[in-house]
């Protein structure tokens, strides 16, 4: 049950939003299938496992992030390094064996284009990561640990994203 939504969607996106595909490819839903909303619960299940790992490997801990940037512990380097190795092997195998989704669709990859935002934005995010001890995933997980004040951190991050959207045409990319 492929439908033409993707086509319609592309045509309704204003031209100014040049990054939907070019700069920000991971933002796009690649699937052209339309499913009932509750099919999304499978993503919640993956998220659930991710949340447990975040807590139990202390990835969302402010201390672990400080130790990473103070070179006092190998822990975070080990986590990210292993994740990249496993991820890269998986992507390689998916491409090589032309593995399809559970619905039989071909899996798409696309190249990311370089722009200066990756440097400027990357540095700013690095500042925020070291201050809060959270990248975007842990923003949600920190709340789940019961430290409810981190709702403020998450709301600030949403505000930051909004302000970026407001000023993006005037920022160097």
């Amino acid at each position: 049950m492929t439908n033409s939504n993707t086509q319609n969607f592309t045509s309704t996106v204003p031209d100014t939003d040049f990054e939907v595909r070019s700069l920000d490819a991971m933002c796009m839903n690649e699937s052209e299938l339309v499913h009932p909303w509750w099919y999304n619960f499978k993503y919640a299940l993956v998220g659930l496992l991710f949340g447990v790992v975040f807590i139990k490997a202390e990835i969302i801990s402010w201390y672990r992030i400080q130790e990473m940037f103070r070179l006092e512990s190998f822990h975070m380097y080990g986590v990210i390094g292993t994740a990249v190795a496993v991820g890269a092997l998986s992507v390689f195998l998916i491409k090589k064996m032309k593995i399809k989704t559970i619905y039989g669709e071909a899996i798409n990859f696309h190249a990311k284009k370089f722009n200066k935002g990756q440097i400027y934005g990357g540095l700013l995010f690095g500042f925020g990561w070291a201050m809060t001890g959270a990248c975007p995933g842990p923003l949600f997980a920190q709340i789940g640990t019961g430290v409810l004040v981190t709702v403020v951190t998450l709301l600030s991050a949403v505000a930051g994203t909004w302000v970026y959207g407001y000023f993006r045409e005037r920022l160097p990319h």
Binding site: C27, Y43, G47, N108, F109, M131, T145, T153
Partner: protein
């Protein structure tokens, strides 16, 4: 079993699980691992205003809300059922430096002296949570991704712009932690 799971997990176990999220999302629905875009979808859903960046069919990205909702729920489950019985281990050098800034209550995953509602109304806490959070949201969108989208998904797919982004994240973190944070912590 629960007893064993409640102790902190080794980095290799966590790394393998997180790495496997990449193929899991691709195979169950052609989704690319990435979390910071969920913040954009929240903006698009709640307050798009007249900003073209937030005018797109966010409902097609609904999976992202389920994914981050799952993360929050997983964190709750792990906190309630797999609570680490021992206090968190912190590098002695970090511990003694923090003590110098009056951060002495080291028990949970976050230092309560810095991350609490009382702290929020101090300049130090305000900067850490409000400015820090703002920079996470602003910076990740400006960079077009975060640790998951660039460092894990992007590097897994051998994208060199993602490598530049990841290096920038790390440089930013090193600069903040070692040069700027000491000034913020002494406030």
């Amino acid at each position: 079993m629960l007893e064993r799971l409640s102790h902190p997990w080794h980095w290799s176990v966590a790394g393998v699980f997180i790495g496997l999220i990449v193929p899991a999302l691709l195979i169950i629905g052609n989704k690319h691992f990435g979390i910071s875009s969920s913040l954009r979808h929240i903006c698009a859903a709640c307050l798009p205003a007249r900003i073209p960046f937030f005018h797109y069919d966010w409902k097609k990205e609904m999976w992202s809300f389920f994914f981050v909702g799952g993360i929050l729920a997983g964190a709750v489950l792990a906190t309630v059922f797999l609570q680490n019985p021992a206090p968190i281990e912190v590098a002695p050098t970090l511990k003694s430096d923090l003590a110098g800034y009056g951060v002495t209550h080291i028990d949970g995953l976050l230092p309560t002296d810095l991350f609490s509602f009382e702290s929020l109304f101090t300049l130090r806490g305000f900067l850490l949570m409000v400015l820090g959070g703002f920079l996470v949201g602003f910076g990740t969108r400006y960079a077009g991704g975060c640790t998951s989208g660039h460092a894990i998904m992007g590097l897994s797919n051998l994208q060199w712009p993602s490598l530049i982004a990841t290096i920038s994240f790390m440089v930013g973190g090193f600069l903040m932690t070692n040069l700027l944070l000491p000034f913020i912590l002494q406030l």
